[in-house]
Amino acid sequence: MKGNVIITAGNAKAFERSLDMLDSSMKELQRVAQDMMPETLVRYGLDAAVKDLCSDITHSGVLRVNYQSIGLEDAEIEQIAAITIYRIIEELLNNIIKHADVKTALVQVSKTNKRISITVEDNGKGFNTAVIRGTKGIGWYNIESWVEFLKGKVDIQSGPGKGTSVLIEFKNP
């Protein structure tokens, strides 16, 4: 390895630009990694991660999310199950933000009798449950895949003007 190297002005510029590109690539990678596996989820578990998610959304002003958890204090939830639950809640909250036209929502995660239930509800526009398959978005397809992965079931109560309540239950392995 050579010590001090003298390079031309043109090369120096290219070098600087490369460093900048490396910096932004690293930032992007961190952001993607964080999205894939949120740090709070890994370090402190599902309860803390969902609590933060709801609190972040509330503080952004776009929707006030009330979070309640039951029985999650020393819950042993496998990380893959935890991230799946997290994604389901994220997706459902996104739906509310996009379609419900409402100011508050409720998220509840409970672990009772070795079963985990997730409830996300709002008092907004609601929708015709018969039609959800027809939507163009990939949201519901995702949710159904994740619930299937967890070997759980989804129960949706909604109707135009009647708000929406989604309940997902599965056995904690």
Binding site: Y44, N66, L106, T112, S117, T119, E121, Q157, S165
Partner: protein
Amino acid sequence: MATSVFIVDDHYMVIEGIRSLLQNEKNIEWNGHAMNAASCLSFLKQHQPDVILMDINLPDKSGIDLCKEVKEQYPSVFIIGLSTYNQQSFIQKMIDNGASGYLLKNATQSELMAGIETVMKGKLYFSDEAAQSLRKPIGDVPLLTRREKEVLEHIAEGMTNNEIAQKLFVSVTTVDTHRKNLLTKLCARNTAELVRLAFFHKFISL
């Protein structure tokens, strides 16, 4: 009596920035810096400052864990958490582990000075933004989900789990889960108390 301040952070610019913010303050004595948990701990063996500004993100150990260790070995040292993270869980954990305060890295000089002064008095200090994150949603009255309300009404009508399950087209296990959650949320020991509390909170009416 000057307050001695030490900082642990793995970003040199943060250290320099804070040092220059504090260097003109008459009541502050700068004790130096460490850039990882290990060197912080070895510094503390020789000398204990009054206040440590502690970054949460350190290369060898999380500031949250370091905070706990430092408070265990040197309980009289005050620790102020320092971070770009505004997440409630990080702040809460830092305080649980013995920190006296929390500052975000976008804090102003006056917030920094106020923080140091306040924790020296033995009180807790949070920068405005950190305090906002900690505000819990208000609610003495627990919120019930739609299905919980339904199950509660039917319980009050005297229906059994089986009957409720049939009426609502769900499984008995589901009804049982809702029932158990209701007991927990309303802090009721049994069904009779549950119904009384339900009336009290006006979830059901005669």
